[in-house]
């Protein structure tokens, strides 16, 4: 009677012992890899001394600690019960910025290609108007809670900054999400818009409201000029040529000192005015006319609503265009270019309109950027900006307007929040500077988010043509275009 129970009691420790050796082996292998990664680059730090000679400083405790942590973590994961392992993988993927297989697996299990449930549909329907309302009230809520001085940072660094990227994301979405043309040089049009306003206002004294459409037109023109030679290119060739054009425009801005003042940039760009009333503390300023005490917050709030209006204009135009023949042609082009051509769609014109319209909104955003900063320099228009905007579009779900807005809030807002982490100094000592890890974590977050949701945050689409009933389709069914 007691024999089976005895064997099972005996079996348990034997199994554990049999588990320990392979677990130790795996953990040792992982630790060895991590040690190899750390070996020169973390264990030693090369610093130039006063004579400009490099000297090495050792940092073995740090790299050995990292190795030890990895060893213990992998060992525990191997020893854990199978159903706990997934949690180890999730923690690992967040800590190490990868290990992503499990995370991707979990995300895929959760979704599938089936149509989303009714609850998610209802959420999707009411989320957008609710979010819009919250955004419209955002500066007033800030003002009410924090007062004019305290809310300046929130409205400017978070509100205006995020909305600029929402607008850029929506603009690029026309090119990448709808027409399926991979553009890695979108920042060029942003730069054209910014410099158009900067030069037109400082040279000819034109006002913002005159310059805004001009900047859009100029950017659209550049969109056509740059789009025309690359029409025959597809996929990654298109990507590299657009990247090259982005870099060319930046280098011209750097080197054509007579026009652009080079690295020094253009300063003293006129600030925005409230339809002719300047935001200053003069007697004829905004505050004096409306009998308000003078604070700089009014200008910021005006800028906030200005960029909100511009972004909503972009959104509105995009949504309307999707239903027009040109919008349908863009999406058809993304799905199948050969079929498009055989059905008589002029692919040249279709691609050029996508480039031109995307560029135009980029130009608007650039012109807003110039009036907000009062200063433009080529430093603001590097490749990393293009990459960030593209990441926002892809993370948003390629073609989903709401997804792009959410992605912009996440990609811009979260790194901005990293600046608030000064309290960490209390834990890690005075020399710890959280802002220096900002871009490091930004890069890691891009990788993790892609592994977590390769199809973007909002992976469903509303079709513009449907039979009887309009229902969302999964993003997995949407092609990403060849060129």
């Amino acid at each position: 009677m007691s024999a089976p129970s005895q064997t099972s009691e005996l079996a348990a420790p034997v199994e554990t012992a049999a588990q320990v050796v392979p677990a130790l082996r795996t953990a040792a292998a992982a630790a060895l890899v991590v040690f190899g990664l750390c070996f020169p680059i973390i264990s030693y730090r090369a610093e130039a001394n006063i004579n400009n000679e490099l000297v090495l400083g050792g940092r073995w405790p740090l790299s050995l600690t990292i190795t030890a942590i990895v060893f213990v973590f992998v060992f525990l994961r191997q020893m854990a019960r199978a159903d706990w392992r997934i949690w180890f993988d999730r923690v690992g993927s967040i800590v190490a910025g990868g290990m992503g297989g499990a995370l991707a697996q979990a995300a895929r299990e959760g979704e599938g290609t089936a149509a989303p449930s009714r609850a998610r549909l209802a959420f999707g329907r009411y989320f957008a108007p609710f979010a819009l309302g919250a955004v419209i009230l955002f500066p007033l809520i800030c003002l009410g809670l924090l007062g004019p001085a305290g809310s300046l940072k929130w409205v400017n660094n978070y509100g205006v900054q995020i909305l600029i990227y929402v607008m850029l994301g929506w603009g690029l979405n026309i090119v990448v999400g709808l027409a399926g043309l991979l553009d890695l040089g979108y920042v060029a049009f942003y730069a054209v818009g910014a410099y158009s306003y900067a030069l037109l206002s400082t040279t000819f004294g034109l006002s913002f409201w005159v310059c805004l459409p001009l900047a859009g037109v100029l950017a659209a023109m550049w969109g056509i000029i740059l789009g025309f030679p690359v029409l025959r290119l597809r996929g990654d060739y298109l990507a590299i040529v657009t990247l090259a054009f982005g870099e060319i425009i930046r280098m011209v801005l750097v080197n054509w000192v007579a026009l652009t003042n080079g690295y020094a940039g253009i300063t003293e760009i006129p600030h925005v005015s409230f339809f002719g009333i300047p935001f200053n503390d003069d007697d004829n300023g905004f505050a004096a006319i409306f009998h308000l005490p003078y604070t700089p917050i009014y200008r910021t709030i005006f800028l906030f609503y200005l960029i909100l209006a511009l972004a909503l204009l972009t959104n509105f135009v995009t949504i309307r265009l999707r239903r027009l023949p040109i919008g349908r042609a863009w999406e058809a082009l993304r799905e199948d270019e050969i079929a498009c051509r055989s059905l008589g769609i002029n692919t040249t014109n279709t691609k050029l309109t996508a480039f031109a319209l995307g560029a135009m909104f980029g130009g608007f955003a650039g012109s807003f950027f110039a009036v907000r900063q009062g200063f433009v320099s080529p430093e603001s228009f590097t490749f990393i900006e293009s990459a960030t905007i593209l990441a926002i579009v892809v993370l948003g779900g390629m073609g989903s307007q709401l997804g792009v807005a959410i992605a912009a809030a996440v990609m811009i807002g979260v790194p901005e929040l990293m600046r608030e982490l000064d309290w960490l100094k209390a834990i890690f000592g005075e020399n710890f500077d959280p802002t220096q890890y900002r871009m490091l974590l930004f890069g890691a977050a891009m990788v993790i988010m892609m592994i977590w949701k390769p199809r973007g945050l909002v992976s469903t689409r509303m079709p513009s043509i449907f039979l009887r009933q309009r229902k969302p389709v999964s993003g997995d069914l949407v092609k990403e275009g060849h060129g």
Partner: protein
């Protein structure tokens, strides 16, 4: 004429470095169709690894012989950079294989941002001057305008040529090379025929990284200074070189690298240094307009 010869020498040296990096792009693109944007930053990381390994050898181990140090740095750099790229592929790209095309691209851009900032955090933002090494300079003419050829330049071109020959042999005549070419053509069929596709792709990343590490060592030797932001521009130019030569084609990558190096050097010499990068990119755009699949690339035929 003297100036022309001098610029030819400089251009070939620079082009060798670009060619070595370009191979990493073209191989990864050939096998999984992905633009590995982090490759330029991997090159920068390898330059740091090489520099620090050299410092360890000379300052801590007090190794006297420079040639031995050079060989050790080269081998250690190739191995460690290979390990880095193996890990990166494992963590950031493998989970996205078979996903839609832009996801690995964004992941690679994220990895590029991560790598350059990682080096900035752990090694500091300032320029790292390499230790001064003896460099014999040969004077080829002795006329009014001296044409010089330095030992470093010879070293760079010779090492590049030897490694390319070895690498060419591996891809052309070994079973590993055959497995790579099979995966390039059809991964599913290759797997059915008993090729370990995952391992082959990993090895491709390791080889690409090892060649980038060679370029990193050469970069430190040639320029004598390295910075955490030095990966982007050579990376973009090497990618340009890969596309110019026809992406997916190995001889094309080397040819493209040499062309970009020569264009850059001649433009700086005869026109202006300000617009040398503009010249490289313009030539890329013009080439692609007339030869949309690069110089040696096969045209992409779409089957319906």
């Amino acid at each position: 004429m003297d100036n022309f010869l001098q610029q030819l020498i400089n251009g070939l040296t620079l082009g060798s470095i670009y060619g070595l990096i370009a191979i990493g792009y073209t191989m990864v693109y050939g096998i999984i169709g992905m633009v590995n944007f982090a490759h330029g930053d991997l090159f920068m990381l390898s330059a740091f690894i090489a520099l620090i390994t050299f410092m360890i050898l000379t300052q801590i181990l007090h190794l006297g012989s420079l040639p031995v140090a050079f060989v050790v740095v080269l081998i250690a750099g190739m191995a460690l950079t290979g390990l880095w790229n193996w890990t990166i592929e494992r963590l950031a790209y493998r989970p996205l294989r078979g996903s839609f095309r832009l996801a690995p691209l964004i992941s690679a851009i994220g990895m590029s941002v991560f790598l350059s900032n990682f080096v900035q955090v752990v090694q500091g933002p300032r320029n790292k001057p390499a230790p001064q090494l003896p460099n014999h300079v040969f004077n080829l003419t002795g006329g009014a305008y001296d044409v010089t050829l330095s030992v470093r330049q010879i070293l760079i071109v010779v090492v590049t040529a030897i490694l390319l020959a070895a690498f060419w042999y591996v891809v052309r005549y070994t079973s590993l090379g055959r497995a790579q070419r099979a995966c390039e053509q059809d991964q599913k069929m290759a797997a059915l025929l008993g090729i370990d596709v995952d391992a082959t792709i990993s090895i491709t990343f390791v080889i690409g990284a090892a060649l980038a590490a060679v370029a990193g060592v050469m970069f430190v030797i040639y320029y004598g200074v390295v910075n955490f932001a030095d990966g982007f521009v050579p990376g973009v130019k090497a990618f340009t070189a890969a596309v110019l030569g026809g992406i997916g084609s190995l001889p094309g990558a080397v040819l493209g690298g040499l062309l970009i190096g020569l264009i850059e050097v001649f433009w700086s010499s005869y026109f202006s240094t300000d617009y040398k990068d503009v010249a490289a990119f313009m030539i890329l755009a013009i080439t692609l307009i007339f030869l949309p699949s690069g110089i040696l690339g096969r045209p992409e035929v779409e089957k319906v």
